[in-house]
Subunit: 138 residues, 2 copies
C-alpha cells in the first residue's frame, strides 16, 4: 500500500517503463486505467464481443449495449482501441464496413469484468432496499 | 443479453423486488451500481479497509487513498454507506470519533475488485506503450 518509486513512467528513471503498475501510487496511470475499464459500457462491450468470439459491427454493438448513445459508443470504442483492448478492422467495400473485435489483452479483461458484473447483478436488489432505507433515515 | 422483463424494480410488477439484476437491461439499476463500484476510489477504499480487517478513521483512509480530496472521500464514503457496503460508527467521545468499516456485502466486493486491480496493475505498462503508439499514429 505504500507509495513505491519506479511505478509511474518517469520517477527518477526517465525512459524506463516499469514492469507493473501500482494503484496506490498517485503518480501511476493504473488508477486512470481502472476508471476507464470499470465502467458499465466497457463491461458490456467487452463481455458482448467476448461472447461472440469474433467481431461485431458498430450497429450490432449499439443494439447490444441497450441505451448507449452513438457518441458514447464511439468514445468508448476509441478509448478501448487506444488502450490496446479493441481492434478496429475496415473492410474496403462500398461503403466501407468496420468490424470491432478484442485483442488478447481485451479478452483477458473479460474474466475480471465478468466477476464484477456477477457481483453487481447478484447484490443489486438488496443494495436498492438498503438505499431506500438510507434515504428514509435522512 | 436480451432485455428481460422483471429485472428493474417495477416493470409490470409494481412492488415486486427482483431476485437478480440484469446489466443489459437499460431500466435496471445494476449498471449504475457497477459504475459506482468500478472506480479507482471505491477499489482502493474497499481493498484498504478489507486488508485491515477492522475499521479505519477518516484521516487514515485519506492517507491510504493517496491523492483523494476531502470532498471526494466524503462523497465516496457516503455513496458506499448508502449502498450498504460501508459501516459508519460514531464513538461518543469529545470530540466524537468516526470509524468506517465494511459490511459483509462490502467484504464480498473485495475479491472482484482485487482481480480488477490485479489486471490493471499487470497490464498498465503495456497499455501505456500502446497508447503512445496510437497517439503517434493520429
Amino acid at each position: 500500500m505504500d507509495v513505491q518509486g519506479g511505478t509511474s513512467r518517469n520517477p527518477g528513471h526517465p525512459g524506463v517503463t516499469p514492469h507493473r503498475g501500482d494503484l496506490f501510487d498517485a503518480a501511476c496511470p493504473t488508477r486512470q486505467l481502472l476508471d476507464r475499464v470499470g465502467t458499465k459500457w466497457t463491461t458490456m462491450l467487452v463481455l458482448t464481443v467476448d461472447q461472440t468470439d469474433g467481431e461485431l459491427r458498430f450497429t450490432e454493438l449499439k443494439r447490444a449495449l441497450t441505451g448507449i448513445s452513438q457518441k458514447m459508443l464511439t468514445q468508448t470504442l476509441r478509448s478501448l482501441e487506444r488502450d490496446g483492448l479493441v481492434t478496429r478492422r475496415v473492410e474496403p467495400s462500398v461503403p466501407p464496413r468496420v468490424f470491432y473485435g478484442l485483442t488478447a489483452r481485451g479478452k483477458s479483461l473479460a474474466q475480471p469484468l465478468s466477476q464484477l458484473r456477477e457481483w453487481a447483478e447478484t447484490h443489486m436488489p438488496q443494495v436498492q432496499l438498503d438505499q431506500d432505507a438510507f434515504d428514509r433515515s435522512l
